[in-house]
Protein backbone atom coordinates (compact mmCIF):
# COMPACT_ATOMS: atom_id res chain seq x y z
CA UNK A 1 0.00 0.00 0.00
CA UNK A 2 1.24 3.42 -0.90
CA UNK A 3 1.28 6.03 1.86
CA UNK A 4 1.71 9.75 1.74
CA UNK A 5 3.34 11.85 4.43
CA UNK A 6 0.98 13.77 6.68
CA UNK A 7 2.94 16.55 8.32
CA UNK A 8 2.09 18.85 11.23
CA UNK A 9 3.46 22.33 10.62
CA UNK A 10 4.33 24.31 13.73
CA UNK A 11 5.14 28.00 13.94
CA UNK A 12 7.41 29.52 16.56
CA UNK A 13 6.81 33.14 17.50
CA UNK A 14 8.23 34.91 20.54
CA UNK A 15 9.43 31.57 21.89
CA UNK A 16 6.03 29.92 21.86
CA UNK A 17 4.08 27.85 19.44
CA UNK A 18 1.47 29.83 17.52
CA UNK A 19 -1.05 29.29 14.75
CA UNK A 20 -2.09 31.90 12.23
CA UNK A 21 -5.03 32.73 10.01
CA UNK A 22 -3.89 33.96 6.58
CA UNK A 23 -0.40 34.45 8.04
CA UNK A 24 -1.86 36.89 10.58
CA UNK A 25 -3.82 36.73 13.84
CA UNK A 26 -1.23 34.64 15.62
CA UNK A 27 -2.67 32.69 18.48
CA UNK A 28 -0.56 31.02 21.19
CA UNK A 29 -1.06 27.28 21.32
CA UNK A 30 1.62 26.08 23.70
CA UNK A 31 5.22 25.14 24.27
CA UNK A 32 7.07 23.83 21.20
CA UNK A 33 8.96 21.05 22.96
CA UNK A 34 5.86 19.81 24.65
CA UNK A 35 4.03 19.81 21.32
CA UNK A 36 6.82 17.79 19.69
CA UNK A 37 6.60 15.26 22.52
CA UNK A 38 2.87 14.90 21.99
CA UNK A 39 3.30 14.54 18.22
CA UNK A 40 5.93 11.88 18.92
CA UNK A 41 3.45 9.86 20.91
CA UNK A 42 1.00 10.19 18.06
CA UNK A 43 3.64 8.78 15.69
CA UNK A 44 3.42 11.52 13.11
CA UNK A 45 5.20 11.05 9.77
CA UNK A 46 7.35 14.16 9.93
CA UNK A 47 7.30 17.63 11.52
CA UNK A 48 7.97 21.04 10.04
CA UNK A 49 8.91 23.82 12.44
CA UNK A 50 9.19 27.38 11.22
CA UNK A 51 10.56 30.23 13.30
CA UNK A 52 8.65 33.16 11.86
CA UNK A 53 10.63 35.80 13.77
CA UNK A 54 14.20 34.95 12.76
CA UNK A 55 14.36 36.57 9.32
CA UNK A 56 12.47 39.65 10.46
CA UNK A 57 14.78 40.05 13.43
CA UNK A 58 17.75 39.46 11.11
CA UNK A 59 19.09 36.73 13.33
CA UNK A 60 20.23 33.15 12.72
CA UNK A 61 18.23 30.14 13.92
CA UNK A 62 18.02 29.64 17.69
CA UNK A 63 20.34 26.63 17.76
CA UNK A 64 19.98 25.97 21.48
CA UNK A 65 16.21 25.76 21.22
CA UNK A 66 16.37 23.65 18.07
CA UNK A 67 18.73 21.21 19.78
CA UNK A 68 16.17 20.73 22.54
CA UNK A 69 13.44 20.13 19.99
CA UNK A 70 15.56 17.76 17.88
CA UNK A 71 16.38 15.66 20.93
CA UNK A 72 12.68 14.98 21.31
CA UNK A 73 11.93 14.38 17.63
CA UNK A 74 12.07 10.69 16.76
CA UNK A 75 10.61 11.37 13.36
CA UNK A 76 12.05 13.45 10.51
CA UNK A 77 12.29 17.09 11.48
CA UNK A 78 12.41 20.00 9.06
CA UNK A 79 13.35 23.43 10.33
CA UNK A 80 13.02 26.82 8.69
CA UNK A 81 13.58 30.41 9.70
CA UNK A 82 16.61 32.66 9.48
CA UNK A 83 18.86 30.28 7.53
CA UNK A 84 21.07 32.44 5.37
CA UNK A 85 24.37 30.54 5.18
CA UNK A 86 25.40 26.98 4.36
CA UNK A 87 27.23 26.80 7.68
CA UNK A 88 24.01 27.52 9.56
CA UNK A 89 22.31 24.71 7.67
CA UNK A 90 25.16 22.34 8.51
CA UNK A 91 24.91 23.25 12.18
CA UNK A 92 21.23 22.34 12.05
CA UNK A 93 22.00 18.92 10.58
CA UNK A 94 24.53 18.33 13.34
CA UNK A 95 21.79 18.93 15.87
CA UNK A 96 19.63 16.22 14.34
CA UNK A 97 17.50 18.22 11.90
CA UNK A 98 16.85 16.25 8.65
CA UNK A 99 15.78 19.02 6.34
CA UNK A 100 16.18 22.75 6.18
CA UNK A 101 13.45 25.00 4.87
CA UNK A 102 14.55 28.16 3.14
CA UNK A 103 12.46 31.00 1.85
CA UNK A 104 13.77 34.55 2.05
CA UNK A 105 17.37 33.72 1.16
CA UNK A 106 16.22 31.53 -1.74
CA UNK A 107 13.96 34.24 -3.13
CA UNK A 108 16.78 36.76 -3.12
CA UNK A 109 19.46 34.39 -4.26
CA UNK A 110 18.48 31.12 -5.97
CA UNK A 111 22.14 30.13 -6.22
CA UNK A 112 22.09 29.75 -2.42
CA UNK A 113 19.80 26.75 -2.97
CA UNK A 114 22.26 25.34 -5.50
CA UNK A 115 25.23 25.66 -3.17
CA UNK A 116 23.28 24.23 -0.27
CA UNK A 117 22.02 21.24 -2.24
CA UNK A 118 25.51 20.52 -3.53
CA UNK A 119 26.90 20.38 -0.01
CA UNK A 120 24.14 18.68 1.94
CA UNK A 121 22.21 16.79 -0.74
CA UNK A 122 19.04 18.07 -2.39
CA UNK A 123 16.84 15.66 -0.43
CA UNK A 124 17.55 17.81 2.64
CA UNK A 125 16.74 21.15 1.02
CA UNK A 126 13.15 22.35 1.08
CA UNK A 127 12.09 25.68 -0.40
CA UNK A 128 8.91 27.09 1.00
CA UNK A 129 6.74 28.84 -1.55
CA UNK A 130 4.21 31.15 0.07
CA UNK A 131 1.50 32.11 -2.38
CA UNK A 132 -1.27 34.68 -2.19
CA UNK A 133 -3.59 36.23 -4.72
CA UNK A 134 -2.79 39.89 -5.24
CA UNK A 135 -5.35 42.66 -5.62
CA UNK A 136 -5.87 41.71 -9.25
CA UNK A 137 -6.61 38.10 -8.30
CA UNK A 138 -3.30 36.80 -9.67
CA UNK A 139 -1.27 34.25 -7.74
CA UNK A 140 2.02 35.73 -6.55
CA UNK A 141 4.89 34.45 -4.43
CA UNK A 142 5.24 36.34 -1.18
CA UNK A 143 8.04 36.42 1.36
CA UNK A 144 8.68 37.81 4.85
CA UNK A 145 5.71 35.96 6.36
CA UNK A 146 3.44 36.99 3.53
CA UNK A 147 4.10 40.69 3.86
CA UNK A 148 6.22 41.26 0.79
CA UNK A 149 5.13 40.52 -2.78
CA UNK A 150 8.17 39.24 -4.67
CA UNK A 151 6.42 39.82 -8.01
CA UNK A 152 7.26 36.23 -8.94
CA UNK A 153 4.69 34.01 -10.55
CA UNK A 154 4.35 30.71 -8.59
CA UNK A 155 4.76 28.21 -11.44
CA UNK A 156 7.91 29.78 -12.85
CA UNK A 157 9.27 30.36 -9.33
CA UNK A 158 8.68 26.69 -8.42
CA UNK A 159 10.44 25.57 -11.58
CA UNK A 160 13.32 27.93 -10.86
CA UNK A 161 13.74 26.51 -7.35
CA UNK A 162 13.64 22.95 -8.68
CA UNK A 163 16.28 23.82 -11.26
CA UNK A 164 18.35 25.49 -8.56
CA UNK A 165 18.52 22.18 -6.68
CA UNK A 166 15.63 22.11 -4.20
CA UNK A 167 14.68 18.57 -3.21
CA UNK A 168 11.16 19.44 -2.24
CA UNK A 169 8.79 22.42 -2.29
CA UNK A 170 6.60 23.36 0.63
CA UNK A 171 3.62 25.18 -0.87
CA UNK A 172 1.75 27.38 1.55
CA UNK A 173 -1.46 29.03 0.45
CA UNK A 174 -1.66 32.22 2.48
CA UNK A 175 -5.31 32.76 1.52
CA UNK A 176 -6.27 29.32 2.81
CA UNK A 177 -4.07 29.34 5.93
CA UNK A 178 -6.13 28.71 9.05
CA UNK A 179 -9.45 28.95 7.20
CA UNK A 180 -10.44 25.25 7.02
CA UNK A 181 -11.53 25.77 3.37
CA UNK A 182 -9.58 22.80 2.15
CA UNK A 183 -6.36 23.06 0.14
CA UNK A 184 -6.04 25.40 -2.82
CA UNK A 185 -6.40 22.59 -5.34
CA UNK A 186 -6.06 24.61 -8.56
CA UNK A 187 -2.81 26.08 -7.24
CA UNK A 188 -1.47 22.63 -6.31
CA UNK A 189 -2.37 21.34 -9.75
CA UNK A 190 -0.68 24.21 -11.58
CA UNK A 191 2.57 23.92 -9.67
CA UNK A 192 2.87 20.15 -9.34
CA UNK A 193 2.34 19.87 -13.09
CA UNK A 194 5.76 21.40 -13.78
CA UNK A 195 7.67 19.62 -10.99
CA UNK A 196 9.54 16.36 -10.85
CA UNK A 197 10.37 16.88 -7.15
CA UNK A 198 7.81 16.32 -4.38
CA UNK A 199 5.37 19.10 -3.53
CA UNK A 200 4.07 19.34 0.04
CA UNK A 201 0.71 21.10 0.16
CA UNK A 202 -0.19 23.29 3.12
CA UNK A 203 -2.98 25.69 4.01
CA UNK A 204 -6.67 25.10 4.57
CA UNK A 205 -6.93 21.45 5.66
CA UNK A 206 -9.96 20.75 7.81
CA UNK A 207 -10.46 17.01 7.52
CA UNK A 208 -8.65 13.88 6.49
CA UNK A 209 -10.56 13.78 3.20
CA UNK A 210 -8.84 17.02 2.20
CA UNK A 211 -5.52 15.14 2.09
CA UNK A 212 -6.76 12.77 -0.61
CA UNK A 213 -8.01 15.75 -2.64
CA UNK A 214 -4.61 17.47 -2.43
CA UNK A 215 -2.85 14.30 -3.57
CA UNK A 216 -5.29 13.85 -6.46
CA UNK A 217 -4.36 17.39 -7.50
CA UNK A 218 -0.68 16.49 -7.56
CA UNK A 219 0.70 16.91 -4.03
CA UNK A 220 3.18 14.25 -2.88
CA UNK A 221 2.60 14.98 0.81
CA UNK A 222 0.29 17.13 2.89
CA UNK A 223 0.85 19.45 5.83
CA UNK A 224 -1.56 21.14 8.19
CA UNK A 225 -1.41 23.45 11.18
CA UNK A 226 -4.78 24.42 12.63
CA UNK A 227 -6.30 21.01 12.02
CA UNK A 228 -3.70 19.40 14.27
CA UNK A 229 -3.62 21.96 17.09
CA UNK A 230 -7.23 23.11 17.45
CA UNK A 231 -10.39 21.25 18.15
CA UNK A 232 -13.39 22.60 16.33
CA UNK A 233 -15.94 24.15 16.60
CA UNK A 234 -14.67 26.19 19.54
CA UNK A 235 -11.02 26.26 18.56
CA UNK A 236 -9.88 24.86 21.89
CA UNK A 237 -6.19 24.02 21.82
CA UNK A 238 -5.89 20.27 21.49
CA UNK A 239 -3.12 18.46 19.67
CA UNK A 240 -4.44 15.69 17.47
CA UNK A 241 -3.37 13.54 14.55
CA UNK A 242 -5.41 11.04 12.56
CA UNK A 243 -4.91 7.37 13.33
CA UNK A 244 -3.50 4.92 10.80
CA UNK A 245 -6.86 3.24 10.38
CA UNK A 246 -8.56 6.49 9.38
CA UNK A 247 -5.70 7.46 7.06
CA UNK A 248 -5.83 4.06 5.38
CA UNK A 249 -9.56 4.19 4.88
CA UNK A 250 -9.89 7.79 3.78
CA UNK A 251 -6.59 8.51 2.09
CA UNK A 252 -4.13 5.70 1.36
CA UNK A 253 -6.70 3.33 -0.09
CA UNK A 254 -7.72 5.99 -2.62
CA UNK A 255 -4.22 6.68 -3.91
CA UNK A 256 -3.02 5.59 -7.27
CA UNK A 257 0.57 5.39 -8.34
CA UNK A 258 1.25 9.14 -8.48
Amino acid sequence: MRRIRVIPMLLIHEGGLVKSVRFKEYRYVGDPINAVKVFNEKEVDEIVILDIDATREKRPPDFRRIREIAEEAFMPLAYGGGISTIDEAKQLFNLGVEKVVVNHTAVNNPSFVTGLARQVGSQSVVVSVDVKKNLLGKYKVFTRNGREDTGEEPVSFAKKMQDAGAGELFLNSIDHDGTYRGYDLPLIEKISGVLSIPLVACGGAARVEDFAAAVSSGASAVAAGSMFVFQRPHQAVLISYPGQKELKEKVFSHLRGK
Binding site: M1, R3, F74
Partner: protein
Amino acid sequence: MLVIIDYGVGNLASIRNMFKKIGTEALVTNDSAKIRAAEKIVLPGVGAFDHCMTMFNASGLREIVTKKALEERTPTIGICVGLQMLTQGSEEGKEPGLGWIKGQTIRFRQDRLGNLKIPHMGWTSVRSCKSSGLTEGFSEDTRFYFVHSYHVKLDDPQDELIAAEYGMEFTAGIEKDNILGVQFHPEKSHRFGMLLLNNFLKSY
Protein backbone atom coordinates in the same frame (compact mmCIF):
# COMPACT_ATOMS: atom_id res chain seq x y z
CA MET B 1 30.11 -0.38 24.13
CA LEU B 2 28.09 0.57 21.09
CA VAL B 3 30.09 2.79 18.77
CA ILE B 4 28.78 5.06 16.01
CA ILE B 5 31.59 5.64 13.54
CA ASP B 6 32.23 9.35 13.07
CA TYR B 7 34.01 9.74 9.74
CA GLY B 8 32.55 13.19 9.14
CA VAL B 9 29.30 12.17 7.47
CA GLY B 10 25.83 11.47 8.68
CA ASN B 11 23.05 12.13 11.07
CA LEU B 12 25.01 11.09 14.12
CA ALA B 13 23.07 13.15 16.66
CA SER B 14 19.79 11.56 15.58
CA ILE B 15 21.16 8.04 15.90
CA ARG B 16 22.69 8.73 19.29
CA ASN B 17 19.42 10.35 20.46
CA MET B 18 17.42 7.31 19.46
CA PHE B 19 19.74 4.92 21.31
CA LYS B 20 19.52 7.20 24.33
CA LYS B 21 15.74 7.05 24.11
CA ILE B 22 15.88 3.25 24.38
CA GLY B 23 18.31 3.40 27.28
CA THR B 24 21.74 2.98 25.69
CA GLU B 25 24.56 5.50 25.64
CA ALA B 26 26.18 5.19 22.24
CA LEU B 27 29.66 6.54 21.70
CA VAL B 28 30.09 8.73 18.63
CA THR B 29 33.80 8.56 17.86
CA ASN B 30 36.64 8.63 15.35
CA ASP B 31 39.11 7.29 17.90
CA SER B 32 40.59 3.98 16.68
CA ALA B 33 41.33 2.77 20.20
CA LYS B 34 37.70 3.15 21.15
CA ILE B 35 36.54 1.54 17.92
CA ARG B 36 38.92 -1.34 18.59
CA ALA B 37 37.09 -1.94 21.88
CA ALA B 38 33.59 -1.66 20.37
CA GLU B 39 31.14 -4.46 21.01
CA LYS B 40 28.77 -3.26 18.34
CA ILE B 41 29.23 -0.84 15.47
CA VAL B 42 26.92 1.51 13.60
CA LEU B 43 28.14 2.72 10.20
CA PRO B 44 26.09 5.78 9.23
CA GLY B 45 25.99 7.51 5.86
CA VAL B 46 23.96 10.15 4.07
CA GLY B 47 24.32 12.06 0.82
CA ALA B 48 26.39 10.99 -2.15
CA PHE B 49 28.00 7.53 -2.24
CA ASP B 50 31.41 8.77 -3.38
CA HIS B 51 31.44 11.45 -0.71
CA CYS B 52 30.78 8.84 1.98
CA MET B 53 33.41 6.41 0.65
CA THR B 54 36.00 9.15 0.17
CA MET B 55 35.44 10.48 3.67
CA PHE B 56 35.54 7.00 5.17
CA ASN B 57 38.74 6.13 3.31
CA ALA B 58 40.32 9.44 4.33
CA SER B 59 39.30 9.06 7.96
CA GLY B 60 41.89 6.37 8.51
CA LEU B 61 39.24 4.25 10.18
CA ARG B 62 38.50 1.86 7.34
CA GLU B 63 41.17 -0.64 8.30
CA ILE B 64 40.14 -0.99 11.92
CA VAL B 65 36.41 -1.08 11.15
CA THR B 66 37.01 -3.75 8.48
CA LYS B 67 39.07 -5.81 10.90
CA LYS B 68 36.34 -5.55 13.52
CA ALA B 69 33.60 -6.51 11.08
CA LEU B 70 35.30 -9.23 9.04
CA GLU B 71 37.84 -10.78 11.41
CA GLU B 72 36.44 -10.21 14.88
CA ARG B 73 32.87 -10.52 13.65
CA THR B 74 31.67 -7.57 15.67
CA PRO B 75 27.97 -6.99 14.93
CA THR B 76 27.92 -4.08 12.49
CA ILE B 77 24.94 -2.29 11.01
CA GLY B 78 25.04 0.16 8.11
CA ILE B 79 22.29 2.76 7.90
CA CYS B 80 21.10 4.33 4.62
CA VAL B 81 24.24 5.04 2.55
CA GLY B 82 26.01 3.10 5.32
CA LEU B 83 24.19 0.04 3.95
CA GLN B 84 25.05 0.91 0.35
CA MET B 85 28.73 1.23 1.31
CA LEU B 86 28.72 -2.46 2.28
CA THR B 87 28.16 -3.42 -1.36
CA GLN B 88 30.80 -3.58 -4.08
CA GLY B 89 29.91 -0.25 -5.63
CA SER B 90 27.18 2.14 -6.65
CA GLU B 91 25.82 3.50 -9.89
CA GLU B 92 25.88 6.86 -8.15
CA GLY B 93 29.66 7.07 -8.12
CA LYS B 94 33.05 5.75 -9.15
CA GLU B 95 34.48 4.79 -5.77
CA PRO B 96 34.45 1.08 -4.99
CA GLY B 97 32.33 0.07 -2.03
CA LEU B 98 33.58 -1.96 0.91
CA GLY B 99 32.44 -5.18 -0.75
CA TRP B 100 31.54 -6.94 2.50
CA ILE B 101 28.32 -7.98 0.82
CA LYS B 102 28.17 -9.27 -2.74
CA GLY B 103 26.01 -6.98 -4.81
CA GLN B 104 25.70 -3.50 -6.23
CA THR B 105 23.84 -0.32 -5.39
CA ILE B 106 21.65 0.77 -8.28
CA ARG B 107 19.34 3.68 -9.04
CA PHE B 108 15.57 3.34 -9.10
CA ARG B 109 14.49 3.18 -12.73
CA GLN B 110 11.86 5.79 -13.51
CA ASP B 111 10.31 3.45 -16.11
CA ARG B 112 9.62 0.91 -13.35
CA LEU B 113 8.03 3.49 -11.05
CA GLY B 114 5.28 4.97 -13.23
CA ASN B 115 4.68 8.46 -11.91
CA LEU B 116 6.17 7.79 -8.47
CA LYS B 117 8.94 10.27 -7.81
CA ILE B 118 12.64 9.78 -7.18
CA PRO B 119 13.84 10.01 -4.42
CA HIS B 120 11.63 7.59 -2.58
CA MET B 121 10.87 9.78 0.41
CA GLY B 122 8.42 8.83 3.12
CA TRP B 123 7.06 5.97 5.17
CA THR B 124 6.81 2.54 3.65
CA SER B 125 5.72 -0.82 5.02
CA VAL B 126 8.34 -3.54 5.07
CA ARG B 127 8.41 -7.28 5.44
CA SER B 128 10.97 -9.59 6.92
CA CYS B 129 12.30 -12.08 4.37
CA LYS B 130 13.82 -14.53 6.83
CA SER B 131 13.82 -15.28 10.51
CA SER B 132 16.22 -12.94 12.27
CA GLY B 133 16.79 -11.27 15.61
CA LEU B 134 16.80 -7.88 13.93
CA THR B 135 13.24 -8.15 12.64
CA GLU B 136 11.74 -9.86 15.67
CA GLY B 137 8.40 -8.28 16.48
CA PHE B 138 7.79 -6.94 12.97
CA SER B 139 4.10 -6.97 12.07
CA GLU B 140 2.02 -5.89 9.10
CA ASP B 141 1.92 -2.38 10.62
CA THR B 142 5.70 -2.05 10.67
CA ARG B 143 6.85 0.89 8.59
CA PHE B 144 9.98 2.98 8.31
CA TYR B 145 11.06 6.36 7.01
CA PHE B 146 13.02 6.21 3.75
CA VAL B 147 14.91 8.85 1.77
CA HIS B 148 16.89 7.42 -1.13
CA SER B 149 17.27 7.32 -4.89
CA TYR B 150 19.47 4.21 -4.94
CA HIS B 151 18.91 0.74 -3.53
CA VAL B 152 20.90 -2.40 -3.00
CA LYS B 153 20.74 -5.30 -5.44
CA LEU B 154 22.19 -8.44 -3.89
CA ASP B 155 23.91 -11.28 -5.73
CA ASP B 156 22.79 -13.79 -3.13
CA PRO B 157 19.07 -13.62 -2.22
CA GLN B 158 19.97 -15.37 1.05
CA ASP B 159 21.48 -12.10 2.25
CA GLU B 160 18.19 -10.25 1.93
CA LEU B 161 16.59 -9.60 5.31
CA ILE B 162 13.98 -6.91 4.68
CA ALA B 163 12.01 -6.11 1.54
CA ALA B 164 9.89 -3.08 0.74
CA GLU B 165 7.94 -1.89 -2.24
CA TYR B 166 8.16 1.36 -4.17
CA GLY B 167 6.72 0.75 -7.60
CA MET B 168 8.68 -2.50 -7.44
CA GLU B 169 10.03 -4.65 -4.66
CA PHE B 170 13.53 -3.75 -3.48
CA THR B 171 15.94 -4.78 -0.74
CA ALA B 172 15.51 -2.59 2.34
CA GLY B 173 17.67 -4.59 4.73
CA ILE B 174 20.42 -7.19 4.62
CA GLU B 175 21.97 -9.69 6.98
CA LYS B 176 25.00 -11.86 6.36
CA ASP B 177 26.55 -13.35 9.47
CA ASN B 178 27.40 -10.36 11.69
CA ILE B 179 26.96 -7.78 8.90
CA LEU B 180 23.64 -5.97 8.84
CA GLY B 181 22.28 -2.99 7.00
CA VAL B 182 19.07 -1.06 6.53
CA GLN B 183 18.16 1.39 3.78
CA PHE B 184 15.66 3.30 5.91
CA HIS B 185 16.27 5.53 8.92
CA PRO B 186 15.45 3.66 12.14
CA GLU B 187 16.58 6.72 14.10
CA LYS B 188 13.69 8.66 12.55
CA SER B 189 11.09 5.90 12.58
CA HIS B 190 9.73 6.32 16.12
CA ARG B 191 8.26 3.12 17.58
CA PHE B 192 9.45 0.91 14.75
CA GLY B 193 12.96 2.31 14.78
CA MET B 194 13.16 1.80 18.53
CA LEU B 195 12.11 -1.82 18.06
CA LEU B 196 14.75 -2.45 15.42
CA LEU B 197 17.61 -0.76 17.26
CA ASN B 198 16.63 -2.52 20.44
CA ASN B 199 16.71 -5.81 18.55
CA PHE B 200 20.21 -4.94 17.34
CA LEU B 201 21.30 -4.35 20.93
CA LYS B 202 19.80 -7.45 22.46
CA SER B 203 20.09 -10.10 19.73
CA TYR B 204 23.65 -9.57 18.50
